[in-house]
Symmetry: C2
Subunit: 120 residues, 2 copies
């Protein structure tokens, strides 16, 4: 799923969102469910969290392997799933691949679920 | 998963969260992945959205059946999954069951993923 397909909401729009948004359309629900599916695996969620918690929201794959008890190919597979879901971007620099959180993707997930009761 | 097991974060804490949070622990990741799994189905996500978009974050099951092209037993199953994930509560009043969004559950999901890049 590409960024444009996700119709990403600017981060700054968060505070200005209407307190009650319209229900998701079937198409929006399919797109968003795919993002949640990418986050629905504990190892994948930890890897995402490890990237997100680094200063600048960026981490080298060499930094995030420590402390995760799965093989390097499995880590690479999970990072690829997160990238394909639009949650991370990656960039190769010299020998290492660096992963970065896509803040707009998170804003889209948040704004899709923000309700009056959350704001109240 | 119960509310206490989720160690829910108060909604008001959102704005005061540190800009970079610690990575999720393995236990937190397992708990949170279960919440994302509940939201990772398009029909379930639409049902959640239909409840969340109602004024007061509450809806009668009779209100949210319209426009969702699945059978009533399937709707009931999906609502049960959302309830078991701590995202909805339910209450029977006369002949109908009413579902309500649990705002703390959403705040927990949001705060677990908030990063410096999102706030920047």
């Amino acid at each position: 799923m590409s960024k444009s397909e996700l119709n990403l909401t600017p981060v700054a729009a968060c505070a200005a969102d209407p307190v009650v948004r319209d229900p998701l359309t079937p198409t929006e629900a399919v797109e968003l469910a795919a993002v949640f599916k990418a986050l629905a695996d504990p190892v994948r969620l930890r890897l995402f969290s490890l990237v997100a918690s680094r200063a600048g929201g960026e981490a080298c794959v060499c930094d995030i392997s420590d402390g995760v008890e799965v093989s390097q190919p499995t880590i690479s597979h999970h990072l690829k799933v997160l990238r394909e879901a639009g949650l991370l971007t990656s960039e190769r620099r010299a020998s290492w691949v660096y992963y970065r959180v896509v803040p707009e993707a998170f804003a889209r997930v948040s704004s899709a679920l923000i309700t009056e009761s959350v704001h109240a």
